[in-house]
């Protein structure tokens, strides 16, 4: 087993570790033993034929990891399957359930000769609209992970013994028949949150077979508080469904509406559509949050607060709205004016609250108040009351019924300790690693005699279970899910399970008594029953088959608008639970899921590990983030290794001084520091679960920090080193001309303000007649008004263009390979700065400085103005990279592609050349997509249409910030974007004529809070302070 071989390998060295693995004694022995597992000893008469067989087998096994390849079936192509052309990609609609949110995201997965290679959003689905988050896109890499477990494992005398699914089926038949006879007493299931109707159906079947069986739910980053708040407000569990397109004033209380929210993709798209810089057309976003999220960066007003104070800010808003603005309390508000008046001196006074209340009260039915999962239930309740009172319910927010959460992990541990459970089936999750630190799940598991764990790999929980069963990846299995609006999504496999894994549904069906469950039939039956059918899905019914086929083709069944509900308030009492504000002696700890790794289930995903965090730009690590003033008060420096102590738990973490962080608050993220995952994530970062206690899953007040005296090396893609005063001042000075921005009023008064923000230079003339472009002239425009810095483009580019991952050390040496990066700048007051995100990729300059200096002409201009990189001509002088003013060229310092496993190479996009060592690479504007579209247009004898070509970054951008097209077509979207007044070229004074231009960022602050910085054309920043 791989886990035994490489216990000493850590994720940090991952990109060397496959070679180390190859050099490890175990592997050597494996290779050296002439007949590795599976091949009998030498045959008696050692024939030539036998020799060749063995040699071929050894060669196959020398494929480094000895993975089991998909079974090869040799079928002549005399009869080609319908609609399949070898070498041509196919796309299938499927869906992924977001971790912890019990919400499916509709996806479109590209498959090349039977191999899933890229994940995108399903453009037909109204809550995806073709966009996909970084996590969704990176999930394709997990299929090809070499450390997934390859067979069931049974623990016998503390030894892991390889078994087969048949062994398990035999075992299960005996065990579960016996359980069924005693009505399932002593049987318990532990599962994650899921919206799958098939799972619900199978759960009912299990409940029928084992009526006394218990069911528990474990989600480290769940939405219990949201459901509980809705239950209190409306009498049953609901999830709120945001309709940002109708919202003109958005109040986001720690909800990260545009990024981490279940409906973030559509929210972001609709938010962006509401940012057209024209009078009375722009929405206004207020964000109250503790750590810095993309939503906060996009906000017109961002108010950093400790997490516990955010709900109080919401209470302050309620006071302001109901008492100062005179908005009537709705029926069933659960609180009287008198009680509200009593809140007055318990809530903080924030200037932004008054402005927000004014905006919300003035735009009834056009406001939206959302509260995040880490806020208490009463805050969700209060938000519901506010939305009802302001007439927003039914317009900007509706509700979708949700299942009430089951008993949680604490209840399971209690039941186990009480000896009430002897057989535990863990369908999902890794409770041993992800339980709060004060909950001893490992010891509790030992109390059960039979424990069965379905998991991707032999993790900490599997190691303590009797049976480990390999789980099929969602791209390998059948399933279904509900989208955020309640529409049914199809989960269909693109490849046979690589390692014989089975899905949760198949395991449930097996335990429910189906000896040979097939995921396809299970889902089909659910679909049949969902349409009102009874029993099994019919084998041959043309009408059903047509519906089923359409469902699989579209990937979803749309839900009628009526499915969204507008329930009435119940009148349950609203109580303000005031928390004391933290101070420097008594800090607050915030525990949040990592924006990249989630609750840790993406820890083994190299793309996400190397994806820079939006705020910190840290890769392959997590940090304890705190504000500059807090750091100064505690005498903590950036990069100090701290010891955090919270509720009796301790953990070490490096300090990251993050401008704009809530005061006296420290944020840590979950999902890192795993010891039990594959080679990629093992030991990367610091485990924040170690600080979590069951009573305070999101942290709380009472954090103590001590300095260990050690320093810790963080790898960041930006601001690698603490910056000196000279560099700091210069950066401050430059940002205004790099990311040009203005308030809406200023923009309307001075539409040409962008022209006054750059370097003043003489007219740019050319000494020679420049090349004209008569055919297409490709260009790009990026709208900084709507870019929220969500990183989706970066992962899309990585997947599309086979961009290698280089590991923490190499990023630490500034050698990251990403072709598109998101520059993040802070400006102004470090405690509450303005934050700007700016995607930067090769701008395909017409007078490209890189082209001129390449001695071997390896980078040249095409007839359509692309700055093309000729990999096989490049000798690697790196002169082009030096001379690139945007520093977007990436050099292969090592043989990066050679270092990825053979299995993972199956994921590579065959349309894009992989680059060898010593070669320069950079953004190509996805030239392969341009050519594919051109060929298609040529075959159809028509000109290329605008919008037909979408680079990967533009395709996945949730906010449509990136527009690509033909600059020679005045009607193209990109031409129109460039014709806007706020369009500008970065570093235009160099006269390099970049083909990528930027649209200046226009903000829409409340007039009373905006300070019109006329000189620089940007406001100097609002000055609310936190606690």
């Amino acid at each position: 087993m791989t886990t035994a071989n490489d216990a000493n390998l850590t994720g940090r060295g991952y990109w060397r570790s496959l070679q180390e693995l190859a050099g490890s004694p175990e592997f050597r022995r494996h290779l050296d033993s002439e007949f590795p597992d599976g091949i009998d000893g030498p045959a008696a008469g050692f024939s030539r034929r036998r020799f060749l067989q063995i040699m071929a087998a050894s060669a196959a096994m020398a494929g480094l990891t000895g993975c089991r390849w998909p079974q090869e079936r040799i079928i002549p192509f005399a009869a080609r399957p319908d609609g399949f052309t070898p070498g041509k990609t196919q796309q299938f609609a499927t869906a992924l359930e977001l971790p912890g949110l019990a919400t499916g995201a509709a996806l479109l997965v590209t498959s090349y000769d039977g191999r899933p290679i890229k994940v995108d959003g399903n453009p037909e689905h109204p809550w995806s609209l073709g966009a996909a988050s970084a996590q969704m896109q990176a999930s394709v890499l997990d299929v090809w992970n070499v450390d997934r477990s390859r067979s069931p494992v049974r623990r016998r005398d503390n030894q892991e013994v390889r078994a087969t699914w048949n062994d398990f089926a035999t075992f299960a038949a005996g065990q579960f028949d016996a359980l069924a006879e005693r009505d399932g007493r002593g049987l318990a299931f532990l599962a994650g949150a899921s919206s799958s109707p098939t799972r619900a159906r199978l759960r009912a079947q299990l409940a029928a077979r084992f009526p006394s069986a218990l069911w528990f739910r474990h989600e480290p980053a769940g939405d219990h508080e949201r459901l509980a708040g809705a239950a209190r407000a409306f009498g049953r569990s609901y999830r709120d469904l945001t309709h940002v397109e109708h919202a003109r004033v958005i109040a986001d209380f720690d909800a990260d509406l545009l990024h981490a929210h279940p409906a973030a993709l559509r929210n972001a798209r609709m938010f962006a559509r509401g940012r057209r810089p024209a009078r009375d057309q722009m929405n206004r976003l207020y964000v109250f949050e503790s750590t810095l999220s993309p939503t906060g960066a996009a906000a017109d007003h961002r108010i950093p607060l400790p997490r516990t104070q955010i709900s109080l800010a919401l209470a302050a808003l309620a006071v302001e709205v109901f008492l100062e603005r005179g908005v009537a309390l709705p029926d069933g508000a659960g609180i009287s004016r008198g009680e509200l008046a009593g809140w007055r001196d318990r809530v903080p006074a924030l200037p932004a609250i008054a402005a927000l209340a004014e905006d919300l009260a003035g735009r009834r039915g056009q406001g939206l108040v959302v509260v995040g999962d880490r806020q208490p239930a009463w805050a969700h309740h209060l938000a519901a009351v506010l939305n009802v009172a302001l007439g927003n319910v039914g317009r900007t927010v509706t509700f979708v019924p949700a299942a009430a959460p089951d008993a949680d992990l604490t209840a399971l541990v209690d039941a186990l300790q009480a000896g009430r459970i002897d057989t535990l089936v863990i369908l999902d999750g890794n409770p041993v690693a992800t339980a709060p630190a004060d909950l001893d799940v490992a010891a509790a598991l030992a109390r059960a005699t039979v424990t069965i764990h379905l998991a991707d790999r032999l993790d900490a929980t599997s190691e303590r279970c009797l049976w480990h069963l390999p789980r099929a990846h969602y791209l390998e299995a059948w399933g279904d899910a509900l989208a955020v609006d309640g529409s049914l999504l199809a989960v269909q496999p693109l490849i046979e399970p690589l390692h014989g894994g089975r899905s949760e549904l198949e395991l449930m069906a097996l335990l429910a008594g189906d000896p040979a469950p097939r995921g396809y039939d299970l889902v089909r039956t659910t679909f049949h029953q969902g349409a009102g059918g009874r029993g099994q899905a019919p084998a041959a019914s043309p009408s059903f088959e047509a519906n089923w086929r359409r469902f699989l083709h579209d990937g979803f069944t749309a839900v009628s608008a009526a499915a969204a509900q507008t329930p009435a308030l119940t009148g349950a009492g609203l109580q303000l639970a005031a928390a004391a504000a933290p101070n420097y002696e008594n800090l607050e700890l915030v525990i949040a899921p990592d924006p990249r790794l989630g609750d840790g289930r993406f820890a083994d995903n190299a793309w996400l590990q190397e994806l820079p965090d939006f705020a910190t730009k840290v890769v392959w690590d997590n940090v304890a983030a705190l504000s500059p003033a807090t750091a100064a008060a505690l005498r903590v420096a950036h990069g100090d290794l701290l010891e955090l102590e919270f509720a009796g738990q301790r953990q070490r973490m490096p300090a990251y001084v993050l401008p704009g962080h809530g005061a006296a608050t420290v944020t840590v993220t979950l999902g890192h520091g795993r010891r039990d995952c594959g080679r990629v994530g093992r030991g990367v970062g610091h485990d924040a679960y170690a600080l979590r206690v069951a009573a305070a899953p999101h942290g709380g007040i009472g954090l103590k920090i001590t300095k260990t005296g050690h320093r810790y090396a963080l790898s960041c893609t930006q601001d690698h080193h603490a910056i000196d005063p000279i560099g700091y001042q210069e950066r401050e000075r430059r940002v205004g001309s790099l990311v040009r921005q203005a308030d809406l009023d200023h923009y309307l008064a001075h539409p040409d303000f962008v022209d006054h923000l750059g370097v003043h230079h003489p007219p740019l003339v050319s000494l020679w007649t420049e090349k004209g472009y008569t055919g297409h002239k490709w260009g790009m425009a990026i709208d900084l008004s709507v870019c929220i810095g969500c990183n989706a483009c970066q992962v899309a580019c990585q997947a599309e263009n086979n961009i290698p991952v280089v590991g923490k050390d190499e990023v630490g040496r500034s050698r990251e390979m990403s072709w598109i990066r998101i520059d993040r700048y802070f400006q102004g007051d470090p405690e509450n700065p303005e934050i700007a995100a700016q995607p930067i990729a090769c701008a395909h300059c017409e007078l490209a400085p890189c082209e001129q200096v390449c001695p071997v002409a390896a980078t040249v201009h095409t007839e359509e103005g692309l700055n093309a990189m000729v990999y096989n001509r490049c000798v690697g002088t790196r002169y082009c990279a030096n001379n690139c003013p945007y520093k977007v060229r990436r050099f292969n310092f090592f043989d990066n592609i050679k270092q990825i496993s053979e299995t993972e190479k199956m994921r590579l996009n065959p349309q894009v050349t992989v680059r060898s060592r010593g070669v320069m690479e950079k953004c190509t504007y996805c030239v392969q997509r341009i050519e594919t579209a051109r060929i298609a247009a040529k075959n159809e004898r028509r000109p290329l249409r605008d919008g037909e070509i979408t680079p990967a970054c533009a395709q996945t951008c949730p906010t449509e910030a990136i527009v690509f097209g033909d600059l020679n077509d005045p009607q193209s979207r990109v031409s129109r974007a460039r014709a806007e007044k706020r369009s500008y070229d970065l570093l235009a004074y160099l006269n390099i004529k970049p083909r990528t231009s930027y649209l200046a960022r226009i903000r829409n602050p409340h007039p009373r809070l905006a300070s019109h910085g006329e000189e620089a054309g940007r406001p100097s920043g609002h000055k609310q302070t936190g606690a």
Partner: protein, 489 residues
């Protein structure tokens, strides 16, 4: 072995009007010159110190090749360069070594054309040093590319891509400039050495020496016809080499000046680089000559007068370099480009300020001490200043290359460059190679150009005598010198 009797060192640095300076002291005759210079090469066993030095330098050379092996098998990543700072020590070392290679050709060609007679004592050594420095320099551009096996694509050779190289690229100009320079320098050095090689051949006592020196002496018999052709060829080569002295470092400076990076994009670079190159070249010649004249009994040939002259050149070029530094700053401010001015403020006060101030102290301040004659003629003092200049000029290239790249236009991509051990060992190894070649040179080739030195000795004149005009004429003696000689007689 003939040893000149040295009774204290004769000070010939004083300028006596009307009396030409004696360039060769201690009453050397043609025979004693030949005996002294050839004696070094002919001694059957070099001193023990030579063996020790050779062992050290060869070890360093082996280390150089080990580092190159590591580099070529693993990739450029073994160095400290990154996406922001694409050029690091390799390019710094390249410019450093090319700069050092300047002194030789300057001394041999330009001083020859300017009839600076004192050059004869040091030109062989300086030229040899030039060749070796260019050898060291040549390694770096070849190995600093990502795909060493394709580096020949920089030459306009027929290839399967059917492509010309890009003639707009300064790196290509570099290939031609350095290539031409290396070729002409080598020819110049070798041509000048032919009569001396013939002398060694004629004095050889073993078969092998006879054969090998014989081959390289290409049949030199010292006939008038030989001398005539030799002097013509030498003059032509000097004429060819002279523009190269100016061109090669100008072209090297284009690598930077033609780019758009603030701190690189400056028109002052060509003259500034040439001055810097001469500066560093003379410092390196001095660094080697001061001990060599001591160890090999060459004090009568390489006198204080010679060193004094060299120091004056160092003072002059050092001041030019200092002026260039000041002018860069002035233009950065006067030009009014914020990116440009930041590049220079950042140099002096940013993260690499330490390197900048090492450069300033070594290159601008230390040579100013040569205004004092006492320092200019003191062997220990001048040697220490030579070392400072060598260090300073390496740092100048480091400052130019690295600081400009590390903080260019977009603050998001600013990065700090740190060399790795491989970088450091490669640079140390290049010194090993350089000194290995120097040690082989002093062991097997005449260190002083005997034939040329003899022409500046009084005995070379038709009438002899100490007051005779001292000439360095390979061709006809100009009439006015002859007249002056008659007057003096």
């Amino acid at each position: 072995m003939h040893r000149a009797i040295v009774l204290g060192e004769h000070d010939n640095t004083a300028y006596v009007p009307g009396r030409p300076t004696e360039l060769i002291l201690d009453g050397h005759t043609f025979t004693s010159v030949t005996d002294t210079v050839c004696g070094i090469v002919e001694t059957p066993r070099p001193p023990r110190a030579w063996y020790i030095a050779f062992a050290v330098t060869v070890s360093l050379t082996v280390m150089l090749f080990a580092m190159l092996y590591l580099l070529i098998t693993r990739g450029i990543g073994v160095w400290g360069v990154n996406s922001t700072v694409g050029w690091g020590w390799a390019i710094v070392n390249f410019v450093f070594w090319v700069g050092i290679g300047h002194a030789g050709t300057l001394i041999s060609a330009i001083l020859f054309l300017l009839r600076q007679k004192w050059r004869t004592s040091i030109n062989r050594f300086a030229e040899a040093m030039t060749i070796f420095a260019v050898v060291c320099a040549g390694i770096f551009p070849a190995i600093h590319v990502g795909r060493v096996w394709a580096v020949h694509w920089l030459f306009p050779l027929p290839n399967y891509h059917a492509m010309w190289p890009n003639f707009r690229s300064p790196l290509l100009w570099d290939v031609f400039a350095v290539g031409t320079y290396a070729t002409v320098s080598l020819l110049f050095w070798y041509t000048g050495m032919v009569p001396d090689l013939a002398t060694l051949r004629d004095r050889a006592r073993t078969k092998w020496r006879q054969i090998i020196y014989g081959i390289f002496a290409i049949g030199w018999r010292g006939s008038h016809r030989h001398w005539h052709r030799f002097e013509k060829a030498y003059l032509i080569l000097a004429g060819l080499a002279t523009p190269l002295v100016l061109s090669v470092h100008s072209v090297v400076s284009f690598d930077f000046a033609v780019s758009i990076i603030p701190g690189w994009h400056t028109t002052i670079f060509p003259p500034y680089f040439v001055a810097g190159a001469v500066f560093s070249g003379f410092a390196m010649v001095g660094t080697l000559l001061v001990p060599a004249r001591q160890w090999f009994g060459l004090k009568p040939f390489i006198t204080r007068h010679h060193l004094d002259n060299m120091n004056k050149i160092i003072l002059a070029t050092g001041s030019m370099v200092g002026y260039a530094y000041a002018m860069e700053f002035f233009i950065a401010w006067y030009g009014g480009n914020a990116f440009e001015s930041f590049a220079f403020v950042n140099r002096a006060f940013g993260p690499y300020a330490w390197a900048y101030w090492i450069m300033i102290s070594c290159n601008v301040i230390s040579p100013q001490l040569f205004w004092f004659k006492r320092i200019r003629t003191s062997l220990p003092a001048m040697w220490i200043i030579y070392i400072f200049v060598n260090i300073g000029m390496w740092f100048e290239r480091f400052v130019i290359t690295v600081t400009s790249l590390s903080r260019d236009f977009l603050p998001s991509s600013w990065a700090y460059y740190k060399p790795t051990t491989v970088d450091i060992l490669t640079f140390a190894g290049s010194f090993g190679l350089f000194f290995t070649l120097v040690l082989l040179f002093v062991r097997y080739l005449p260190m002083v150009a005997m034939a040329e030195v003899k022409t500046v000795m009084p005995a070379a004149s038709a009438h002899g005598g100490p007051a005779h005009p001292v000439g360095d004429y390979h061709g006809d003696i100009p009439q006015d010198d002859l007249d002056r000689g008659k007057e003096a007689h």
